[in-house]
Amino acid sequence: MSELFGLWLGALLTLGIFSFLYKDNPFYKFCEALFVGVSAGYYLVTSYWQIIVVKMIDVLQVGFDKMMVLGYFDFQNWLPVLGGIFGILMLLRLLPSIGWISRWSLALVVGTTAGLYFTAYLASNGMIPIKETIVPLELTYPKLFLAHTGSFLKDIPATIWCNFLNVLYTYGNWVVTLGTFCGLIYFFFSKEHKGVFGGVAKIGILFLMVTFGASFGYTVMSRMSLLIGRVDYLGTAFGEFFKLLK
């Protein structure tokens, strides 16, 4: 029974969110408020159990045991203390007179981020794409074929099209190298986009537009499937409801 109740509750909330598509209304406001409250609670609970308990208290416990039983100090197990101290400093915000101390925690977090991101991004976003872009370019003529069925006249459009696509695929790497080059030129800040430089930058923008269009079209499918899943869920819930009515 509680399972069925849960299903209907979920279905009702689903409808509440969908109602926003028509316009803002009390039903949506209710769902929104509930969603914000419940999710804030969810994150509080998860942070407590999975971070404070697992990543701090448990680790410290092991460090403490190592010290007591094995008699040696394992640096790694005591690092969470650092997090704890700066976490508590953060909470000093609640006391207006010394709230400014929380800036120390912010400074620690921001410093860590700046240090780690510099190399991480240089590696994953800088070096690796460059390595992947360095590939041999095709220097030969493409193989053209006259007709795919034997009779050229019968299917001129198809043949032209096939050759066209064949050429596109043969010189694909040229497109990648050229596109990466022009795209990077677009990002130059300290040179005015004029003359030849401006022209190349313009081609760069065109490449970016194709990129955006393609990844937009690419995402449509997965978004549609999410909606299909939701609508099917609603269908199941209503199905159960009508079964009960009968």
């Binding site: 509930l34 409250g37 998860t46 991004y121 460059i130 497109v175 596109g179 194709v210 990129t211 995402t219």
Partner: protein, 217 residues
């Protein structure tokens, strides 16, 4: 103390973590690996600040009977129920196991709300593409054509529309070509740019040139 200590902390910590990438030697490697945990712990503590702010703002709405105040009661109630159930009535740290009260709320309240909000994207993606994909100029046309071809190339309609062409050259193959070549090129240019932007921002932060988030005296 208010202004200079944070700048020193940022600079010192920044340099340590920058170097830790290149040094597999203790204690730097240990620090490098524990960095995300330390930050997570700080974030976990500070979540209390946000939650108290949320409660305060909404209590304020209720007490002053501001617009839509009844919904603030719903919000606070939702928060309290979820928190109390999760902390005290759901098998402690195994709170997400099947059969716990917390899990029940997660599956039947949180999850439907979350996945519905996610699925609304299907509607928005349709209205955004109707409005944005118009052949106003060359750039908009390329955006439109690329989106259109990739969208069609990935479902059976694309196959029906181009079934007169021999296999290997159909709409789906054009879509693949766009994804594999020009799309890859654009992505790479963006990614490399980002790497440089991040590097420069990091250096500005470490040098203390960007410090608005630390406030003034």
């Amino acid at each position: 103390m208010r202004r200079d200590v944070p700048i020193v902390i940022t600079a010192v910590v920044g340099v340590i973590f920058l170097l830790s990438y290149f040094t597999p030697h203790p204690p730097l490697n240990v620090l490098h690996n524990s960095a995300s945990d330390i930050v997570m712990i700080i974030a976990a503590f500070s979540i209390l600040l946000g939650v108290l702010n949320l409660i305060r703002v909404n209590l304020d709405k209720v007490s002053k009977k501001k617009r839509d105040w009844p919904f603030s009661i719903v919000l606070i109630a939702g928060f309290l129920i979820m928190t109390i159930v999760g902390l005290f009535f759901s098998k402690g740290r195994n709170f997400m196991e099947f059969g716990t009260n917390f899990r029940y709320l997660y599956d039947n309240v949180y999850n439907p709300l979350s996945s519905t909000m996610f699925s609304i994207l299907a509607f928005f993606i349709a209205s955004a593409s109707y409005r944005a994909f118009r052949a106003r100029n060359l750039e908009a046309t390329l955006l439109l054509v690329a989106a259109f071809v990739v969208m069609l190339g990935r479902v059976p309609i694309g196959y029906y529309l181009s079934s007169w062409i021999p296999a290997g050259f159909r709409l789906g193959d054009v879509a693949t070509w766009i994804m594999d070549f020009p799309q890859t090129a654009g992505q790479r240019a963006i990614m490399i740019g980002i790497a440089l932007g991040v590097a420069s921002t990091s250096i500005r932060i470490i040098l203390g040139l960007e410090r608005t988030y630390l406030g003034g005296e």
